[in-house]
Symmetry: C2
Subunit: 422 residues, 2 copies
């Protein structure tokens, strides 16, 4: 099939009619498929089931700094869990705090803390939002009434020239980053990008980088990306207080019942703990212990991630293979082929993303809402769609992707037809 742009009007009409036939056929099947969120599928959940046996009534609940994990106390989490996350993030255990089941919650609380202790006292507040990005990050900033500025992404990370310029404005208080296997593009920031982040000289002393390392060890290919350790870099530039790093076991063990953690400088940890000491007596130490006993150490975690990779690799291959087969020649879409993370980011023809999502929905395939990957839910080009291939059973994923490709083509042809008429 040649590129649509090189086809005659009559050929395009014929192609559209054929695709509409396929579409009606899918529609009549009453499908109910979901590629909206980065949710692990059942096979991935089963991988960690043995963890339920890691705590029994016979367990010794005493650990190095906790007389009994069943009882109250331990605001920063048990030392064994802090060490495990320290090893994952490449920082010292003393700079790690282990929380509840949600790193999103820790990010929300961190933003709330900064609002209460510093940002909130100032009139105007702005945040930098590399986009496409994670909708829930943008949701938090919007909840707190912070103005969002979209930063374009490239293959090496967000536009650093733009960021270096914007942080000269003291009302710019921070930036959201998913530095490895970014949500949704799967981009890993280059060494240069990380070094430029570490060397930032923001006008605002309370400028903070929200380094959401959600996919820090979440490879899906045999040629995984590597990311520079931001804390190593900020140590060199004396910018240790500029970074909060977050990660969790949500996509390692159980999405709803994992353990989250943050890493921060001594100063920043002291600021957070001043708030946390009023907020809670301590997070669930039994779930921390359950994880620590199950994994043993970082090597146990890394071996575990290979099992996820085995489940995910064929799914991502199917998604990108289908896109390649169905769309590669047509000149109407481009996409990423990530080495890790949870998404494939597809850019359809400008002005077509909403239509594609609508067509898919009407055929029973739910995608993330078009625009969700941009601040305020507004994709200026209406072109980005986030595909999440992890949740549906693999046989349904194939159907879902076929439906998706048909919808991408139909939306493109409709668009071309409109232009042609004009």
């Amino acid at each position: 099939m040649p590129a649509y742009s090189s086809m005659e009007k009559t050929e395009l009409s014929k192609e559209l009619a054929k695709l509409e036939g396929y579409y009606e056929n899918y529609k009549s099947q009453g499908l109910s498929l979901n590629m909206a969120r980065g949710k692990p599928g059942s096979a991935q959940l089963d991988i960690s089931n043995e963890m339920f046996y890691s705590i029994t009534p016979e367990t010794n609940f005493k650990t190095a700094d906790c007389p009994d994990c069943r009882n109250y106390g331990g605001l920063e989490g048990i030392i064994e869990a802090r060490q495990l996350f320290a090893d994952i993030m490449g920082v010292e255990a003393k700079n790690v705090m282990v929380g509840g089941n949600s790193s999103l919650n820790m990010m929300f609380d961190t933003i709330a803390c900064m609002m209460e202790t510093s940002w909130g006292k100032q009139e105007k507040l702005k945040f930098l939002c590399p986009a496409p990005g994670y909708d829930r990050h943008f949701g938090i900033t919007q909840y707190f009434g912070i103005e969002m500025i979209t930063i374009p992404m490239s293959a090496t990370g967000p536009d650093m020239d733009m960021i270096e310029k914007l942080v000269e404005d003291s009302t710019v208080k921070g930036i959201w980053c998913v530095p490895k296997y970014s949500n949704p593009q799967g981009i890993t920031y280059s060494d240069e990008t990380v070094k430029r982040f570490a060397a930032l000289k923001p006008a605002a002393k309370d400028f903070r980088i929200m380094w959401d390392n959600a996919y820090i060890i979440h490879d899906i290919s045999d040629t995984p990306d590597t990311l520079l350790n931001i804390f190593d870099e900020v140590k060199k530039t004396g910018n240790e207080d500029m970074v909060f790093e977050f990660c969790s076991t949500s996509k390692i063990t159980f999405p709803g019942a994992g353990v989250a953690a943050l890493a921060a400088s001594d100063n920043n940890l002291a600021i957070l703990k001043k708030r946390y000491q009023y907020q809670t007596i301590g997070y669930d130490k039994l779930n921390m212990l359950r994880h620590v006993k199950y994994f043993g150490d970082i090597n146990g975690v890394l071996a575990h991630m290979q099992k996820h990779k085995a489940v995910l690799q064929p799914r991502f291959d199917m998604v990108t293979d289908t896109l390649e087969r169905e769309l590669a020649d047509l000149g109407i879409a481009s996409w990423t082929k990530p080495n890790g993370g949870y998404f494939v980011s597809v850019d359809v023809m400008d002005g077509c993303a909403k239509r594609v999502v609508e067509l898919c929905k009407n055929a029973g395939v739910v995608l993330t809402g078009a625009g969700a990957t941009f601040p305020y839910g507004k994709d200026p080009k209406d072109s980005n769609i986030r595909v999440a291939p992890t949740y549906p059973p693999i046989e349904e994923l194939e159907t879902a992707m076929n439906v998706f490709c048909v919808c991408v083509k139909i939306a493109a042809l409709e668009q071309l037809a409109r232009y042609t008429r004009m």
Copy 2:
């Protein structure tokens, strides 16, 4: 032994010398005993150990409204857990949200939400604080910069005349209540008190009662107290939006790894959920499921509480028996004999609480800091001491209480000596 007030100066001196001898003896034993916090002891923790078996790899993780409790989702908690807490609090499941491991965290988040959505936009903010009360409540209010007004407690609850008067001030935004087995006095609000709360007509439309029902089913005597259901009462007065109720299984299963819940009107729940939807994808549903499967229903919970009662009753008896035996005749202290909860509240001679806590500490017995039970940590009479008899092994508890009584007597005699000199 006659009352100290009726004794001659020389008798008092002789008594003091004798007690100082006892005290030095205790001091030389190098004790390390802790009655500072309402922490369950090991025997209580063991009661719930079988709960670890309630989830295994063979478990069906699908529940009525959750396709898989291991995965993301379910902001309000699984319906089975909401129903269990609804039954405990006597409300409808639709008005319950189940959270993480800490009701304190839910209270903190509720105050934060009210600050962000309503209170924070106003210049001056005040909160009513029945005292003696729970230091962590006061900590939250202080963290958010809300001025605290102390409300005296009586045997029927806080001074309602004073409260009814104070809520005419629109800067008064709320009140902290532990309505059953109050912390630290073990007082249960009378029916009249609850009805007067429900009938309040605060000038501030955003006035909220923080009804921390931490000890809702935590009886320790054979003649338990009963508390009117606040939500039944506010329904009658049309004040449903005035109350947030909180409880948890922290003192039912595991203090560090229980499940917390709140009950609120439809309107209030909508306000909270508007925040929670940004804060988290959902709390730990596996721990909810673990609890639900372990207990079955409310009857399972109530039967379980009998086991705690069996552990706690002899401890509380020992504390009050020791106080009775050592101090009853002396006219230098009074105390409560609660039917439930986690504390015995002792009022020593005015101006002596700090000294008693200091004497105890120097003899190796740690008590809650004097003043902690009052806003800003300042007990105006310096007389209230919170005794927490649940944590130390029972044989140590006896020693700790003997030390405590010696210290109460010494502090009183020192005080009387000062007055006599004057």
